[in-house]
Amino acid sequence: MLKIQNLSVYYGKRQVLHDIQLEVHSGEVVALIGPNGAGKSTLIRSISGVVPIRSGIIKVNDTDVTSLSSMQRAQQIAVVPQAVSMPPAFTVWETALLGRTPYLNFLGQTSSRDEAVARLALEQVDASHLVESRMDEISGGEQQRVLLARALAQDTPILLMDEPTTHLDLPHQIDLLKLIKKQAREKNLTVLVALHDLNLASLFADRIAIVENGLLCVAGSPQETLTSEILRSVYHMQVHVIAHPETGVPLIIPGVS
């Protein structure tokens, strides 16, 4: 379980996150949505420890991680970044194995157990056949799956993702989110994923948290959060909300008038 209390972050003198309160339970997928520059990425980065926080507490299963070393924190929290500017010369296998870093000494010597964990992670994302390929030889969707495998190999209770679907086409977006949800359920992972696409968030997230101007304005089920009133005030545009023909979750259509 991930519990964020009174989290505030500053870039220089500018406050970019105000007093964020958020809880994500084990086995749950929470989508973080909001306009560009609202603070989604900053929230993900501050939880993972690459952006220093001004005040607040970040708890993973009752342990405050803000005082942990990078290595200890990486045993609790894994991050799936966007697959941009990957160093091309590494192979898929080398990349996935780097997920074991928090458990290795500074020389990075891996044991057969580390290799087994990485191999399993690659199997889970259906990338076992790619192990010998270099990262620049595979497609964007495959790269993103390998980065997910690397995060799974980190073997953490918490999984954070920063817009993992951005550079993927629709079928790959759906595949990746299905995979993430399956992993969350099977391994009882706590998943917080920043997403741009409101409909994908609605389809796959158990709950949705909306960030605007560094404030967490609302968190709840898709039905509670994706209403035309809330979305109009957050995105400053007219939207229509209809029900998904199969599942009934809200779908968002921009108004044209």
Binding site: R45, S48, G49, V50, S69, S70, M71, R73, A74, Q75, I77, A78, V79, P81, S85, M86, P87, P88, A89, F90, T91, E94, L98, G99, T101, P102, L104, F106, L107, G108, R150, Q154
Partner: protein
């Protein structure tokens, strides 16, 4: 596969060593070398071997391996395949420090000699910090920025060096030849003076392979995977600069070895720095040995500074890499 790579790089090194010991104004055959090494050779051969050929060969080995491994480390640290101790100005910075130390006291004693690599280390560190601070965007250093900042800072350091030399005595001016990459010939003394620094620096770099692998994914990802990025970067930067500075102290500024060697190794074994660093160490020695042999024979009996040989081979290579990296981002 992995073992075969190491074995073949050691075989190449062995031949380079043999060539370097054998070739000179007097040719020593492998049999003569062997006999002399085990104490059964002619007196004249023994004198040439122990007083001239071996000290020079060992100094070249140390310099070449230092340039190879520090080049690989800088490339990993800056995430840029064109980083090279020479191109980013560290070598010129180290040269300036060495000349300052030499102009204060031309070293006759062993302890006087120890000051030279230390001074070179200080100015090397200063230079690389300035270049990095100017050229960086976040923690990545774009090629154009890196080369421009390197050129500017290194010109500045070189001008200061020339100024110091012009003001100094005739004896000092001999150092000009040394700066171009002709090593100071004083037998085993300079080797003893650089060995401790080199061992420390190279030792640290050899342990940094895994950290450099992580840094290739960018600082955010490296930290999210558990690396203490700031501390690791500082340690590697200091170690690489120490290694460069010691190499420059007694062998002068030798360009492009730190660029060529890691590149060739990367084409051979891939991008894993845990293999790249030791192989750049070994092959840096081999390549500089070959260059040194060429510098001895091409205008024999006269010698040309080895820096000229490496630049003649290295500059076209640099242009090729530049063109290649323009098309592919970076390796």
């Amino acid at each position: 596969m992995r073992r075969a790579t190491y074995i073949s790089s050691f075989v190449i090194l062995f031949f380079a060593l043999l060539l370097s010991i054998a070739i000179g104004s007097v040719f020593l055959s492998p049999a003569e070398i062997w006999n002399t090494l085990i104490g059964r050779g002619a007196e004249i051969s023994a004198s040439i071997l122990w007083k001239i050929r071996l000290p020079r060969t060992v100094l070249v080995v140390l310099t070449g391996s230092a340039l190879g491994i520090s080049g690989a480390s800088y490339q990993g640290l800056f995430r840029n395949p064109l980083a090279d101790p020479y191109l980013i100005g560290v070598a010129s910075g180290a040269g300036l420090g060495a000349v300052i130390a030499l102009s204060i006291q031309w070293p006759y004693s062993f302890w006087g000699l120890l000051i030279v690599p230390l001074a070179a280390f200080m100015t090397a560190l200063l230079t690389v910090s300035i270049v990095y601070a100017i050229a960086r965007i976040g923690h990545t250093v774009p090629t154009t920025n890196l080369i421009l900042a390197g050129v500017a800072v290194s010109s500045f350091a070189t001008s200061l060096t020339s100024f110091l030399m012009l003001r100094s005595t005739d004896e000092m001016r001999r150092a000009l030849g040394w700066l171009l990459g002709g090593s100071i010939q004083n037998g085993w003394t300079s080797i003893l003076a650089i060995l401790p620094f080199l061992c420390i620096g190279v030792g640290v770099l050899l342990m940094s392979g895994h950290a450099l692998n992580l840094l290739q994914f960018g600082d955010d990802q490296a930290q999210q995977l558990g690396l203490n990025v700031t501390r690791t970067r500082t340690i590697i930067l200091v170690a690489a600069s120490l290694v460069t500075a010691t190499a420059v102290s007694f062998s002068g500024i030798i360009g492009f070895v730190g660029l060529i060697v890691p590149h060739l190794m990367r084409m051979w074994v891939g991008a894993d720095y845990r293999r790249l660093l030791p192989l750049s160490l070994i092959s840096g020695a081999s390549i500089l040995l070959f260059a040194d042999v060429i510098s001895r024979v091409v205008l024999a009996p006269q010698e040309i500074p080895v820096g000229i040989v490496t630049a003649l081979a290295g500059a076209p290579f640099f242009l090729w890499v530049l063109r290649r990296s323009k098309n592919q981002g970076y390796w």
